[in-house]
C-alpha cells in the first residue's frame, strides 16, 4: 500500500468535489475490494474519499418498483422483506456471494464496481492489460480455468465476479449515477458493465468521478418462478465457475418471457438472449430447457483451461430453469 490521504465526504456534492480535485482519488464504501487492491498495489490511489456518511443507504418502494441505496449493505439488501418477497432471485444471488462478514461490509454500489478476480490482475509482476494497458494478458495462454467463454477479446479474457449483478441483470435494473455538476443519469443494467474489447482497463460505463447513488429495480412478475444457481469449487465463499439467474413469467405451463443472466462466463453479466428468445412462448418442458441451454452455449468460445464451462453452463442453465419452474 502506498501512503494516501483520507477524507470523509459529508454529502454527495462534497464527494464529487473531492474526487474531481484529484486524478488519483478513489471512493471508499465497504472497503472489501478497494483496500485489498491497494494492499496488492493493484490500485494506488493517493486520496481516499470515504462515502460512509452519505445518506444513500435506504431501501424503499417507489412507483416503479424498489430503489436500493448505493450504500445499503449487501446483507441488509438480501434480507430486506420487500426484496425477499418480490425479488427473491436478488436475495439468493447476494447470499451466494462472499461470506457473512464481507456481505455485512459490502455496499450495493461497491459490489457493482468490484474488479475481476483474475489472479494475474492481482499479481503486479505479471503482464495484464487491465492493470497496465498494453502490457499483455498473462491469462490468455495461462491458467485461465476461471475465465471467460463469451465476449472476450484478445486483450482480456477476465470475468466479472459479482453474484448480485447477475440477478440485477436478469431483473433489468437501472443504475442511477450522479455527475460532478449534480445532474443524474440512469444507466440500464445491461449497459453498465462492458465487454473488454480494446479497453480492458474499463470495467463499466461509469466515468471517473461519477457517483452511484442507487440501483432501481423495476416491478416484475416472475418472483414466484425464479432461481439463482451458483456452481463453485467449494460450497461457500468461492467465486462462481458458472452461475445462472433465471425468472419465468408463466401462463399455465407456457413461458411468456424468460429472464436469464449468467455469471462466471464473461466480462459482464451475460444475458442469455438466445435462450430467452428460444423459450419465449414455449412450453416449460425439460426438453425445451435442454434446447435453450444448448442454443445459448453453442456460441461459447472456451480457452485452454475452461472448456468444461460449456457443459457446466448447460447443466447449470437446465438446473436453474427446473428450480425456477418449481418455484
Amino acid at each position: 500500500m502506498i501512503p494516501f490521504k483520507f477524507s470523509i465526504a459529508k454529502n454527495q456534492s462534497e464527494a464529487l468535489g473531492l474526487i474531481h480535485q484529484h486524478q488519483h482519488a478513489a471512493f471508499l464504501a465497504g472497503g472489501t475490494n478497494i483496500l485489498d487492491l491497494m494492499k496488492e498495489h493493484v490500485a494506488q490511489p493517493t486520496e481516499i474519499i470515504d462515502l460512509g456518511r452519505l445518506p444513500l443507504s435506504t431501501i424503499k418502494s417507489t412507483n416503479t418498483g424498489i430503489s436500493l441505496g448505493a450504500l445499503a449493505k449487501n446483507t441488509e439488501t438480501a434480507n430486506h422483506p420487500l426484496i425477499r418477497k418480490d425479488y427473491p432471485v436478488l436475495s439468493k444471488a447476494i447470499l451466494a456471494g462472499a461470506s457473512a462478514q464481507i456481505r455485512n461490509m459490502a455496499s450495493n454500489g461497491g459490489n457493482l464496481m468490484q474488479r475481476t478476480r483474475c489472479s494475474y490482475f492481482y499479481d503486479i509482476n505479471m503482464p495484464c492489460n487491465k492493470r497496465v494497458p498494453g502490457s499483455g494478458c498473462a491469462a490468455m495462454k495461462g491458467f485461465n480455468r476461471m475465465h471467460a467463454i463469451f465476449g472476450w477479446s484478445d486483450q482480456c479474457v477476465a470475468v466479472y465476479p459479482s453474484d448480485m449483478a447477475i440477478a440485477l441483470s436478469a431483473l433489468n435494473a437501472n443504475v442511477k449515477v450522479m455527475q460532478q455538476n449534480g445532474s443524474e443519469r440512469s444507466i440500464p443494467f445491461t449497459d453498465f458493465h462492458v465487454l473488454p474489447k480494446d479497453h480492458p482497463e474499463k470495467d463499466n460505463s461509469l466515468n471517473h468521478g461519477e457517483l452511484i447513488t442507487s440501483i432501481e429495480l423495476p416491478k416484475n412478475n416472475f418472483a414466484s418462478h425464479s432461481s439463482y444457481i451458483k456452481v463453485r469449487d467449494r460450497n461457500s465463499y468461492a467465486f462462481a465457475l458458472v452461475s445462472v439467474a433465471a425468472g419465468f413469467e408463466l401462463e399455465g405451463n407456457t413461458i411468456k418471457t424468460a429472464h436469464i443472466a449468467m455469471g462466471g462466463v464473461a466480462h459482464k453479466p451475460w444475458r442469455a438472449l438466445k435462450a430467452e428468445a428460444f423459450l419465449k412462448d414455449k412450453a416449460a418442458t425439460f426438453a425445451n430447457f435442454i434446447k435453450a441451454a444448448d442454443l445459448e452455449m453453442s456460441s461459447a468460445k472456451p480457452l485452454s483451461h475452461n472448456k468444461f464451462k460449456i457443459e457446466m453452463g448447460k447443466q447449470t442453465l437446465i438446473h436453474a430453469f427446473e428450480v425456477a419452474l418449481k418455484g
Binding site: 501512503p3 498495489h41 489472479s119 456452481v231 469449487d233 460450497n235 457443459e311 447443466q315 438446473h319
Partner: protein, 711 residues
C-alpha cells in the same frame, strides 16, 4: 489396580483455552520489545537466473526506512546450518520464483512494505529454468537418497503378468500448502552476543541448533521462545530463512526486529507438499488374494536439495502381498523445497493405494472392507517384524457398524436423494508410532500445606493440546491436582525434547514427564528413608516429610525392545458424499474416522486432532490445489480466494472413534500418536465415495465440480 481418579484419559478442556480465546496467549508477533523495527521481505520475480542489479535508492529515501538488506550487504551465513529452503541472501543466484532477495527494515510495518515496492531489480534470466512439471515428469531422475532406492520383494512388478485380476492406474495429487492459521513470524532481540528468537517452532531444539549454526553461533547463544503456535502442519518443523534473517536484521540495525510473512508470502517461503504422479499396479487372484503391488511415484523436489514425501510408505505395510515394488523418481524443479506436510507421504500415498484397492474390489465385485480384511498381514510385510499391535480390522469392523456401511449400494450411481447422488466410501491409513529422546524437569514446592508443581520441557504445542496432556500426565504422576500444576514449554532454555513432528510429540513428551514424575517420587521416597506399604505419591511425600522445595530432571528414550516390533497407529475412514447430479458439486455429509492409536490421553483434544486431519483431508480430496504457471514458475493460485481450504458448508457431520487399545511395546505409556494419521486415508475414502455415488473414478485431486459433469 486402575486408579479411578486418574485424569489421564479424561476429555478435559485445554488448560490454556481461556488464555487463547481471550487473547492472552502470546504468539511470536505478540512479544513486545522496546524500540522495535519492522522487516519486510521482498522476493524474486524470476524462477532461475541471477540478480544483475538491485537499485534501492528510491526505497532508501522512503519514509521510515532504516536499512535495506540484500546479498550485497548481508553478513556471511552458513548455508549448510540446517535451515530449509535456502534464500539466505548469500549471493545473486536465483533458484525459484519468490525466493527472498532482500528485506527492508523500517520504523513501521507499513513503511517497510511501501519501501519494499520501490526496490528495482534487474535480472539475468536462465532460460533453461525447470518449471514445467508435466514436461519434466516425462524424464524423471533417480533419487539420490538411499531411502528412496527401489524396494523389490519377491518377483516385484513382473509378477503382475500372471495375475488373474489387475488394476493399473495413475493417480495425481497437486501441490498443497500448509497455511497454518498463524503465518510464520519472528521477533529477534539481541542481548550482547546472544539472540532471543520468538518464533513458532515445532521442534524447539532443532530451531535453536539450525539458527545457531546458520548464524555461526554456539547453540547456547540462541534462545528460541515458542510457547504457543498457531498451527504448523510440518511447515514449522524445519525452520526457514525468515527465522535467521530476522536475527540478521536485528543485528544490523541494532534494534529488536519483527518479521511476519504475509499470507501471500507463505506460498513460496516455507515449503509445500509436492505434486505427485503415482502409478499403482495391483494383481490378485479371482478370490481377491493380492499377488502383486507396485507403487511407483514421480515427485518434484528442489534443484539444490532433495526432499520428497515418501508416497510408497503405506504400500510397504498395509497388505500381505508376496511380490512388490516401491519406487521413486524425482524431478528437480526451480520451486521452493517441498517439506513435511501433515501425514507426509502417507496422506498422498494412501490416496493412490486405497483408491486402487477400491477399484480392485469393484472389479472383483467384492465388498471393499472384505477385500482389505482378506489381505490383512499377520506381521509387517516390509521387515518381517511382529506388529506391536495392529487395529486395521477392528477399525474397519467397528467403523462399518457405527457408520451403517450395510446401507451402501454396491452398484455405483444407484443411490439417490432428491436431485443428489449419494455415495459411501472407505479407506485405511497408518502412521508409525515412535518415541524420541526427551527430558523433563519437575520442581515441587510446598506452600500452606499444598504442593505445587512446575513441569519444564522444551516441548512444543501446535495448538493440539500438548500443554494439557502433559499437565494431565504430571497430575497423575505426582498425585497433584491439575490446578496446582504449571506447565513451562516452548523454550530452548528448558530441558531438551523432541518435536511436535511425525506424531512423536505426545509419546516423547508424555513419557519424559511421566518418567520425571516417577523419578522425583523415587527420590522423595529415598529422602524420607521410610518404607511404605502402598507407594505414596510425590504429593503425599512432600506433605508428610514437610519438604519446602524439591526438584529433579530426567531423560527418557524409547524402550530397547520397541525396535524388535513394528509399531503403528492405524485407522479406517468412512465417508458419505452427496453430489448434485447436474452441477457436480460434492458435499461430504458424514465422515467417520476410527483410529487405533494406543492410549488416548485426552479424548477431547484427540478428537480435535482427528477431525482437524479429516477436514484437511476433505480439502485435499475436494478443494485444495496450488497451480504453478509453467511459463513463469510462480503460483497462479496465490491467495485464499484461489487456494480453497474447506469452508463450513463443505464439512458435514464428523465423528471420531478410538479403538480401546493397550499397546505398551512402543513406549511405557502406550501412546501411539494421532497428529499425522488423522489425514491418512481421508482423501481416498472421499474419492471412493464419489465413485460409489456417480460411477466416476476421479484419479486426480482435487475433485472439483468440472470433473464430475455428466458426459
Amino acid at each position: 489396580m486402575e486408579n479411578t481418579n486418574k485424569i489421564i484419559g479424561k476429555g478435559i478442556d485445554r488448560i490454556d483455552g481461556i488464555m487463547k480465546i481471550t487473547g492472552k496467549a502470546s504468539y511470536a508477533t505478540d512479544y513486545p520489545a522496546k524500540n522495535m523495527a519492522y522487516a519486510v521481505l521482498f522476493k524474486s520475480t524470476i524462477a532461475s537466473g541471477k540478480i544483475v542489479q538491485i537499485n534501492t535508492t528510491d526505497a532508501e529515501k522512503s519514509p521510515g526506512v532504516i536499512q535495506i538488506i540484500t546479498h550485497e550487504n548481508a553478513p556471511k551465513l552458513n548455508i549448510k546450518g540446517g535451515l530449509r529452503g535456502g534464500a539466505l541472501l548469500q549471493g545473486p543466484e536465483i533458484i525459484f520464483h519468490g525466493q527472498h532477495i532482500g528485506m527492508v527494515v523500517a520504523e513501521t510495518f507499513e513503511q517497510a512494505t511501501a519501501a519494499a515496492h520501490l526496490v528495482q531489480v534487474k535480472y539475468q534470466q536462465d532460460k533453461t529454468e525447470k518449471i514445467d512439471f508435466d514436461e519434466l515428469a516425462k524424464n524423471p531422475e533417480m533419487p539420490k537418497g538411499k531411502e528412496l532406492a527401489d524396494l523389490v520383494r519377491g518377483a516385484g512388478k513382473s509378477a503382475l503378468a500372471q495375475a488373474e485380476v489387475k488394476i493399473e492406474e495413475e493417480y495425481e495429487t497437486p501441490i498443497e500448502h500448509h497455511h497454518p492459521m498463524e503465518p510464520h513470524a519472528t521477533v529477534a532481540v539481541w542481548e550482547g552476543e546472544n539472540v532471543i528468537l520468538y518464533n513458532g517452532s515445532q521442534i524447539i531444539n532443532g530451531a535453536q541448533t539450525a539458527a545457531a549454526a546458520t548464524l555461526n553461533l554456539k547453540p547456547e547463544q540462541v534462545r528460541i521462545v515458542s510457547p504457543y503456535i498457531g498451527g504448523g502442519f510440518g511447515s514449522k518443523g524445519g525452520q526457514w530463512a525468515n527465522l535467521v534473517l530476522t536475527a540478521v536484521a536485528a543485528q544490523m540495525v541494532k534494534r529488536p526486529v519483527k518479521l511476519a510473512l504475509t499470507r501471500q508470502q507463505m506460498f513460496n517461503s516455507v515449503g509445500l507438499r509436492q505434486r505427485n504422479i503415482q502409478k499403482i499396479s495391483l494383481g490378485a487372484t479371482k478370490e481377491g488374494v493380492l499377488t502383486t503391488l507396485a507403487h511407483e511415484t514421480i515427485s518434484h523436489t528442489a534443484v539444490d536439495f532433495e526432499y520428497i514425501e515418501p508416497c510408497g510408505d503405506c504400500s510397504k505395510i498395509m497388505y500381505e502381498v508376496p511380490n512388490s515394488l516401491i519406487s521413486y523418481r524425482v524431478v528437480p524443479m526451480n520451486l521452493i523445497l517441498p517439506t513435511y506436510t501433515r501425514g507426509p507421504g502417507k496422506s498422498t500415498g494412501s490416496f493412490a493405494l486405497e483408491c486402487a484397492m477400491d477399484e480392485l474390489a469393484h472389479q472383483l465385485k467384492m465388498d471393499p472392507i472384505a477385500l482389505r480384511i482378506k489381505n490383512e498381514p499377520k506381521k509387517d510385510p516390509s521387515n518381517g517384524k511382529p506388529w506391536s499391535s495392529r487395529t486395521t480390522v477392528k477399525c474397519l469392523e467397528e467403523g462399518a457398524k457405527a457408520f451403517g456401511w450395510e446401507k451402501r449400494k454396491a452398484i455405483p450411481g444407484t443411490h439417490f436423494s432428491g436431485e443428489n447422488l449419494i455415495g459411501y466410501g472407505v479407506a485405511c491409513g497408518t502412521y508409525p508410532a515412535r518415541q524420541r529422546d526427551s527430558s523433563a524437569n519437575i520442581k515441587l514446592t510446598l506452600k500452606n500445606g499444598q504442593v505445587y508443581a512446575t513441569v519444564e520441557i522444551a516441548a512444543s504445542d501446535l495448538g493440539t493440546g500438548t500443554n494439557t496432556i502433559l499437565a494431565q500426565t504430571a497430575a497423575d504422576g505426582l498425585g497433584i491436582p491439575l490446578s496446582r500444576i504449571t506447565m513451562k514449554i516452548g523454550d530452548s532454555d528448558l530441558p531438551p525434547a523432541a518435536g511436535s513432528v511425525g506424531s512423536v510429540g505426545a509419546s516423547s513428551f508424555a513419557n519424559a514427564v511421566n518418567d520425571a514424575c516417577g523419578k522425583i517420587t523415587d527420590e522423595l521416597l529415598a529422602k524420607s528413608g521410610k518404607q511404605f506399604f502402598v507407594r505414596p505419591t510425590a504429593n503425599d511425600l512432600m506433605i508428610s516429610e514437610k519438604i519446602a522445595a524439591f526438584e529433579t530432571q530426567s531423560s527418557s528414550k524409547a524402550p530397547a525392545e520397541a525396535e524388535q516390533y513394528s509399531a503403528h497407529s492405524f485407522n479406517a475412514n468412512f465417508a458419505e458424499v452427496s453430489i448434485n447430479k447436474l452441477t457436480g458439486m460434492v458435499k461430504v455429509t458424514r465422515f467417520l474416522a476410527v483410529t487405533g492409536a494406543g492410549k488416548i490421553l485426552n479424548p477431547k483434544t484427540a478428537r480435535s486432532q482427528i477431525i482437524g486431519g479429516n477436514i484437511w483431508g476433505i480439502g485435499m480430496a475436494l478443494t485444495e490445489e496450488s497451480v504453478v504457471d509453467p511459463r513463469y514458475g510462480n503460483f497462479a493460485t496465490r491467495s485464499f480466494a484461489d487456494y480453497h481450504v474447506p469452508a463450513n458448508l463443505d464439512v458435514g457431520q464428523l465423528d471420531a472413534m478410538f479403538i480401546n487399545e493397550v499397546d505398551l511395546i512402543p513406549n511405557k505409556m502406550g501412546v501411539k500418536g494421532i497428529g499425522e494419521v488423522g489425514i491418512v486415508g481421508v482423501a481416498a475414502a472421499i474419492a471412493n465415495a464419489v465413485f460409489n455415488a456417480t460411477g466416476k473414478r476421479i484419479r486426480s485431486l482435487p475433485i472439483t465440480p468440472d470433473k464430475l459433469l455428466p458426459s
